[in-house]
Amino acid sequence: MQEPSSTQRGGMAAKAETKAKVSGAKSRTLWGDAFKRLRKNKLAVIAVVWIIFVILVAVTADLWAQQWLGSPTASDTTQLATTSLLPPSPEHPFGTDLNGRDILVRVIYGARVSLTVGVVATSISTVIGLVMGALAAFYGGIWDTIIMRLADVFLAFPYVLFVVAMIAALGNGLMNVFIAIGILGWPSIARVFRSAILTVKENDYVDAARAMGASDFRIIVRHIFPNSVASIVVYATMNIGSAILTESSLSFLGLGVTPPTPTWGSMIQAGQSYLQTAPWMMIMPGLAILTTVLAFTLLGDGLRDALDVKMKDA
């Protein structure tokens, strides 16, 4: 997915103001300043609160959700006549599905899959991207050409289709979803890290470190990485959102995580047949995707402004 080149918006004036205030205070770290600025960004704060809430709900679900709302997977087939396709009510806040299962509890358990995929796939992409970007920028020459051409190859792929092809080839399963989505995300991180290194590499302190006999690895880890970590954090945050979207597309198509494990995408898919009679079946999981992905996007935007990262085409 492409990020528009610079999406600076309304916050410019406000940002300049906060910057002035911050610089008046005594010197702090990059992260301390960034945190202060982030706290002033209402949308980003709401996003953080929502993300923490979703994580807490997903992690603690086993302790309370099933007692309250019943099992997310098993259904009592003897009672179907009275439990199937119920509209939202105090007892079932999000309604029930065809098998009489509560939709809220399925959305809660679906969050586990989505968050895990988002975090694990992004970690895979980030690690591959960092290694590739470092190799390309630091060793240059043939390494640079090969790796950046490879990045072009990956970027030339229509993203969703390629993930579909990989799952078709690898087979279903959560592990393969991690791999498929994770492998595809590296080129943008690699490009960011590579260009960050190329800028930082020219600085005197890198020469100084080398003059003191530091190894390439040490220079990358101790001197270059801390200087480009801000942009990587921004890209990784946004990447989590798009990984969640991709996973939902996959499970909507019936690929990846298989039933009866609830995923937001497969719940929407199940709701498609009952669009006219039980629209809550597709509306509720869709809202879960929208709010979660939006939260990661807004947090990414907020971090970008707070850390003053310039976004480039990636």
């Binding site: 997915m1 492409q2 528009p4 080149s5 610079s6 999406t7 600076q8 918006r9 309304g10 051409r149 490879l150 072009d152 190859v153 030339a156 792929f157 229509p158 993203y159 969703v160 289709l161 390629f162 579909v164 092809a165 990989m166 078709a168 080839a169 690898l170 087979g171 490009r191 960011v192 590579r194 260009s195 959102g241 979207l245 939902s248 597309s249 909507f252 198509l253 019936g254 690929l255 995408g265 929407i268 709701g271 498609q272 669009l275 006219q276 629209p279 597709m282 509306i283 869709g286 995707i289 929208l290 992905v293 939006l294 996007t297 807004l298 480039k312 085409d313 990636a314």
Partner: protein, 339 residues
């Protein structure tokens, strides 16, 4: 210009082989024997299995078309590099293998589906261009106004929701509640209650939604960028009206990146079609791929993906070249390395 085109085509070649190599490896190296997958759970008779391996070019054959056996009586598999060459040759001949279930060549299955997908993508591109560029211009000109905030808000939401879900919401609202637009299908039948063009509205909008949001954002930031340039100040200084400055000076320059984005986006429309067409039962390539996924008919899935990816790559190449025509700075400018 000729040199520029040549350079682009030469750059395209390694990318093409890289992409096809990855697709080929996905089909051939990953676990799972294709022949066993055709059979599913059944156990195949060895003779039948051998014959199938021959027909799918998986084992070496002599000039009579009989399989060559080694000293143990086992067939000799065709080496992987040779199979890749065969795959590329077949690809150029328009052969992408045969469907497991329907025993038809994959290309035949897609031949009559492609026009539907292409027409839908063209409608979506037109929608994207009009609405995306329009929204971007409004929000840039009336910066910080209500409309600007609205555009920012709506585009943030549009890029954060799954397009297939948006499609279903549209179906629910316009089809189920208001009864003004058809729910799904491509129309054209005798029994259809709506004129044929109405069947295009919801799928085209759904397909265009994400790109529309991005092109609005790009348009906005480009226009704001251009408005700060010296030549805009010059134009104002010589007394041109605000309207004339924007239309004749600012837009011309701000549009180029947006037009390129929209051009390249035609490719992602084709791939986004798999989700949109699934929601709307649209009889195109995407829906066919979805059906093949549900039937575990992998040659159709891989073949369809290959067709779309190759088409996308060719379109991107053409867009790159036309970009050179549009903007001389690209043709003569610095090397491509923009990151």
């Amino acid at each position: 210009m000729g040199k520029y085109i040549l350079k682009r085509v030469l750059q395209f070649i390694p990318v093409f082989f890289g992409v096809t190599l990855i697709l080929f490896l996905l089909q051939n190296v990953v676990p799972g024997d294709p022949i066993k997958m055709i059979a599913g759970d059944k156990v195949l008779d060895p003779a039948v299995e051998l014959q199938m391996r021959v027909s799918y070019d998986l084992v070496q054959v002599d000039e009579n078309g009989d399989p060559i056996l080694d000293e143990n009586g086992d067939p000799v598999p065709v080496p992987l590099p040779e199979r890749y060459v065969n795959y590329i040759v077949d690809l150029f001949h328009g052969d992408l293998g045969r469907s497991y279930q329907r025993k038809l060549p994959v290309t035949d299955i897609f031949a009559d589906k492609f026009p539907y997908t292409a027409r839908l993508a063209v409608c979506a591109i037109i929608l994207e261009a009009i609405m995306g560029i329009g929204a971007g211009i409004i929000s840039a000109i009336k910066r910080y106004s209500f409309w600007d905030i609205l555009v920012t808000l709506v585009t943030s939401i549009m890029v954060s929701l799954p397009a297939f879900w948006l499609g279903m919401l549209l179906q629910l609202f316009f089809g189920v509640y208001l009864h003004v637009l058809p729910l799904s299908g491509a129309g054209g039948g005798v029994a259809s209650a709506y004129p044929e063009w109405m069947y295009y509205i919801l799928p085209a909008f759904t397909l265009a939604s994400v790109s529309m949001a991005y092109s609005a954002r790009i348009m906005r930031s480009q226009l704001l960028d251009v408005m700060n340039q010296d030549y805009i100040r010059t134009a104002r200084a010589k007394g041109l009206s605000n309207r004339s400055v924007i239309v004749h000076h600012a837009l011309k320059n701000a549009l180029i990146p947006v037009v390129t984005y929209i051009g390249v986006d035609f490719g992602s429309m084709l791939s986004g079609a798999i989700l949109t067409e699934t929601v709307f039962n649209w009889p195109g390539i995407g829906y066919e791929i979805y059906r093949a996924i549900t039937q575990r008919d992998w040659p159709i899935v891989m073949g369809g993906v290959t067709i779309i990816i190759v088409v996308v790559m060719v379109i991107n190449l053409l867009v790159d070249i036309s970009y050179g025509f549009l903007d001389p700075r690209i043709r003569f400018g610095a090397p491509k390395d923009k990151s």
